[in-house]
Amino acid sequence: MHPFFRTMRHRATVVITALALLAVASLVLSGMIGSVPVPLSDMPGALVELAKGDAHSMAATLLDLRLSRALVAFVTGAALALAGVMMQALLRNPLADPYVLGISAGASVGALGALMFMWAMWAVDAAAFGGAVAVSMMLYLFARRDLRGAAAAEGGSSLLLLTGVILSSACMAMVTLMLSIAPESRLRSMIFWMIGDLAGAPLRALPWMVLALAMLFALKSARALNVLALHAEAAVTLGIRVGALRKGLFFCSGLLTASAVSSAGSIGFVGLIVPHACRFACGPDHRLLIPAATLGGGAFLVLADTLARTALAPQQLPVGVVTALIGAPVFLYQLHRLRK
């Protein structure tokens, strides 16, 4: 009777199922590929060994290493893509990405400072997280009025955006300062951190918890996000608590970005092109966009990281190089198609 109504739910189910399968496939693929390939037939046995907790066969050991790295890639990619969707809705600008407000630049200052003083790995992560949180809090203090939606009548959010851009460039200046005075021996690790690298990134529970929490918030407010994206401040007249929603978006996207960059460095392009590609393929409706971008972002980063560690083997590339190399042309292609 109402074909549109049927197809919308139907399409959502199909798209999300397909992306979930793609995500699983990307994880399996990343377990198989490497300097020593693990054939698909050895997978089930190796997984059982891993589940029991004693990995003594070759396949299980390899799988343990690769799968934990792939899982870090997945949670990082998913977090960045979700943060991108949220940031774009918050700023009502499809060109925003999780880094536009300088949260990752803050993380860079923390991480590079820690790397320069040769702190332990966990301390680098903690310093990155601390830097991200510090910038977020400064943003919140400066742009509180804007977040509430009281300051700007129409077109809003420029105060927040400008504050973010300025904080970001201040942080980048500090990063450049540190890079220019750092001892030669530390430079390589500092630059790899800036590009974004998953080698040696530990698999932790915290990013998954952050992702789950943010996902819950995003799905709960998916419909309100559509109204906000359409009407900005005037969403109030449709019963949306705009101030609370924007604050929620700000905190969730900030937390996601902080957790993603503190485990893997500032990997670029995922937060921009994955939401874009999903919007291009399945429309701007956040009810479908949020799960699609999250799954898509995770799968994309797993595949990109698999490519990064195999393309020039035995040399390992930082995954940020791969995402940027894939991301830039894909983005240009999309833009070109849109303009036609």
Binding site: A229, A234, T237
Partner: protein, 257 residues
């Protein structure tokens, strides 16, 4: 339906409106008239709850605006903003469906009744054929009609419209006004709108509120308020009234060329 008491509005230090005691009853259709910058949109945004009054209060349905839960209020009054900026490629039908938000806070997808209402709203604005178009590709007038359709789909007793005739061609200006008049007469809805076309306003409204932009205002039935001397004073331009058959035509009485 809507009532203001001692309402005062300011833009920065400038006083726009002072001591507005105003009552809009159910089924009435009001037009707000005044020059550019007189504070018409500011008043409309205050009535819609997008902005706090600088003094005084606004009541809707006998309840102060700030005491209304937002979701309940969204089922009571709809607001058409003066302009829209579309950042994302939503389809026209999706923008109309989004206006059904206040009716199902706990559902993820809309129901088939929402789709029926949304399609009916688009049809009543003669834009049913644009349902699947990206709103960013619509013309100004088409976008305006889709926005009015969304407002109709919100299905509220009180409609606040900031320049509904904006960007509409002549035929659609009168069809939108006819529709608003019919909603007031047949369904007892209440309309408050801003308009610059005096002839349109005179035909479509039962009452008018004139704003001077320096605090002064005058409100009353159209026949009483929309007189040549009053309008000339409030609009800062001499206006003549010509009787044409049963209609009163308002014309600016200075030649341009």
């Amino acid at each position: 339906m809507i009532e203001t008491r001692q309402l005062q509005l300011k833009a920065g230090a400038r006083l726009l409106l002072d001591g507005l005691n105003w009552r809009v009853a159910r089924g009435e259709s009001w037009c707000i008239i005044g020059r550019n910058g007189a504070g018409k949109s500011t008043l409309m945004r205050t009535l819609a709850g997008l902005r706090d009054p600088d003094a005084g209060s606004v009541n809707i349905g006998g309840r102060a605006l700030r005491e209304w839960p937002l979701a309940d209020l969204a089922r009571e009054r709809a607001f058409l903003a003066q302009s829209r900026s579309d950042a994302f490629a939503y389809r026209a039908i999706e923008t109309v469906l989004a206006a059904r938000h206040p009716y199902h806070v706990n559902r993820y997808w809309e129901g088939s009744d929402d789709h029926r209402i949304a399609h009916a709203a688009l049809a009543s604005m003669e834009v049913a054929d644009l349902a699947d178009r990206d709103v960013r590709t619509l013309s100004g007038g088409e976008r305006q009609r889709v926005a009015i359709a969304a407002m109709l789909a919100q299905d509220t007793p009180l409609l606040l419209l900031d320049e509904p005739a904006n960007a509409l061609d002549l035929a659609h200006q009168s069809s939108v006004m006819r529709l608003l008049v019919r909603l007031c007469r047949e369904q007892g809805k209440t309309v408050v709108m801003i308009g610059h076309d005096l002839n349109l306003a005179h035909q479509a409204s039962t009452h008018a509120l004139l704003m001077m932009g320096d605090g002064q205002w005058q409100a009353g039935p159209v026949a009483e308020v929309m007189q040549a001397p009053t309008l000339s004073r409030y609009l800062g331009h001499p206006i003549e009234v010509v009787i044409h058959g049963e209609r009163r035509i308002f014309i600016p009485s200075e030649d341009i060329a």
